[in-house]
């Protein structure tokens, strides 16, 4: 048995290994969401700004390919898009939270769909992810999330195969231990019977000797 095979060791593994890996993947999914919904300068000069989702209160878009630690918990709806926070939900159609240069629908036409179509395209477009998160995926956030789920399921499958193997080892070890230190009631019973018999035999012998003495003493007394 390797060191750290006990439950405490595995719980530490879970905390430092599995959970860390999954949270890196969640951060990457969140980053892909921020980047996928980002608004672009129509002239291509200014940097992208956060669209529907933003990284905390910042409107900057985190750079591609590098994990932004803690983004999955900092991810939030961009206030500029949220009517409850004084924003405008029509920015999903028109963009423009970053200023006039980012407006996709300058005339404000109600039937304008090009920006939404473009968002759909960008969300499924290839993008690069931090390799340290342990998932090899190239697509949009949905494809990355699928790969992350597959990664977790693979770990689960591995763990349950491990568990089965170890359970069998544990059962065999338990059997061996019982063989080594356990007792058979039948055997003990047989031994007990033997002891009983020899006790009976011994007591018979004593009785016989006692009889001998009694006869002897009676004979001597009578003479």
């Amino acid at each position: 048995m390797p060191l750290g095979a006990g439950s405490l060791g595995r719980l530490v593994d879970l905390r430092d290994g599995v959970i860390e890996r999954v949270s890196a993947q969640l951060d990457e999914i969140a980053r892909a969401l921020v980047a996928g919904f980002a608004e672009r300068d129509s002239l291509g000069v200014l940097p992208d700004v956060a669209g529907l989702f933003s990284a905390g209160t910042s409107t900057a878009v985190p750079p591609d390919g590098i994990r932004f630690a803690g983004l999955s918990t900092a991810l939030r709806l961009n206030p500029a898009y949220d009517p409850a926070a004084g924003g405008d939900a029509f920015r999903v159609r028109d963009a423009g939270s970053g200023g006039a240069a980012y407006v996709a629908n300058p005339s404000g036409s109600a039937g304008f769909a090009e920006h939404v179509i473009e968002l759909g395209r960008r969300l499924s477009a290839a993008r690069s992810y931090d390799v340290s998160a342990g998932v090899d995926a190239r697509g949009g956030p949905a494809a990355y999330a699928e790969a992350a789920a597959a990664d977790l399921a693979q770990g689960l499958q591995q763990a349950s195969a491990d568990h089965e193997a170890r359970a069998a080892v544990a059962a065999r070890a338990g059997d061996a231990l019982a063989r080594a230190v356990g007792i058979s009631l039948d055997e003990e019973m047989a031994t007990m019977l033997q002891l009983e018999r020899s006790f009976q035999a011994s007591s018979r012998l004593l009785t016989a000797i006692d009889d001998l003495y009694r006869v002897l003493i009676a004979s001597v007394g009578a003479a």
Partner: protein, 350 residues
């Protein structure tokens, strides 16, 4: 003394107890599989293949959403088609009235009234909306594209016509002197200043709120198509040009020659417009056919995806039923053996 190797009493039933536990777990899983038809532990069963399974589900949802939006598009196209059909029949009714006319004063009054009512009917037909979306408004789907020429909303168009008229002939439309306009001058006006009122820029300024552009919609994962027709289409501009000639030039006051010029010109334009409307309707029909074709393609893909998903996730129900029967037998045997072993003890015999 030679004694047989005895095994510890605790071991006698340990193995059968373990197999009872295993069989009970398997049985519970099999019962879940039998009732859901899917593997009880999808993640553990698929492992790394889970990603493929999730991707199939996402694709299915995408296709489902496209089908739902196609149904809405189909309703809009049907609505547009019906509106164009009614525009077309209104135009034809007016055109028929023109064929039989003698061109005298009374006829001119009738035709002008007919054309004025026609303009109102056409504007109403083009302002049709479904779920708040004005079908002919291009991208400005939140506002009705056309105004009624003879009512208050048509003031901009009326004044555009009036000023073009007075600029050309040096007198307003209601001037009694318009009877003196020469047929040749009238023909020149209709081809020149009056026709310019229906050019793209003037049209958007005075007549139509619609945008030139129409929106594109995704009708299948690969196809984006224009599914609507803007009220700025040339055929529709021609309809208004022909009808406004008849309704808005105070035709009954013109001299017979000029009046004949107006009627003839309107006839030509309206017959071209009807042809243009038919072409627009054919375009819509083409889009509707593409949507239908996309729908049946999508349904084909859905069947394929459902098959793939079921191959990944579903269990063979007959196999599960068999497994349950086998596990039940095993479990019964294990119970029987355990009970019997427990009874086999010297303690009971002594």
């Amino acid at each position: 003394m030679i004694r047989p190797t005895m095994i510890p009493t605790s071991l006698v039933s340990a193995e059968s107890l373990r197999s009872i536990g295993r069989a009970q777990q398997d049985l519970a899983r099999a019962e879940v599989e039998l009732s859901t038809g899917r593997h009880a532990d999808i993640e553990g069963h698929l492992g790394a293949r889970l990603g493929a399974s999730l991707a199939i589900r996402r694709e299915q949802e995408h296709l489902e959403a496209i089908l739902a939006s196609n149904a809405v598009l189909k309703a809009r196209i049907d609505g547009s088609e019906a509106a164009l059909a009614s525009v077309s029949s209104t135009v034809e009714r007016v055109a028929q009235a023109l064929i039989g006319t003698s061109g005298d004063h009374a006829d001119a009054e009738t035709i002008a009234t007919l054309a004025g009512d026609g303009l109102a009917a056409i504007a109403a037909a083009l302002n049709v909306s479904i779920d708040g979306v004005h079908l002919f408004a291009g991208l400005n789907t939140d506002q009705p594209p056309m105004s009624d020429y003879q009512s208050e909303s048509g003031a901009a168009a009326r004044s555009a016509v009036a000023s073009a008229f007075s600029t050309t002939f040096g007198m307003p439309l209601d001037d009694p002197g318009i009877g003196s306009i020469e047929p040749a001058d009238m023909a020149h006006f209709l081809e020149g200043a009056f026709a310019d009122l229906f050019g793209p820029a003037a049209w958007s300024a005075a007549w139509s709120q619609a945008s030139e552009q129409t929106s594109r919609h995704r009708i299948s994962p690969q196809e984006l198509v224009q599914t609507s027709i803007s009220a700025n289409a040339p055929a529709i501009r021609d309809v208004f040009r022909g009808m406004t000639m008849l309704a808005g030039l105070n035709m009954s006051r013109l001299n017979p020659g000029a009046r004949a010029e107006v009627i003839e010109s309107a006839q030509t334009i309206l017959s071209e417009a009807v042809g243009g409307l038919t072409a627009l309707r054919a375009d819509l029909g083409g889009v509707a056919a593409r949507i239908d074709a996309a729908g049946s393609r999508i349904e084909g893909s859905q069947r394929l995806l459902t098959g793939l998903l079921s191959a990944q996730e579903d269990v063979d129900v007959a196999e599960v039923a068999n497994r349950i029967a086998r596990l039940t037998r095993e479990l019964e045997a294990a119970y029987a053996i355990t009970a019997r072993l427990q009874r086999l003890s010297l303690l009971d015999v002594l």
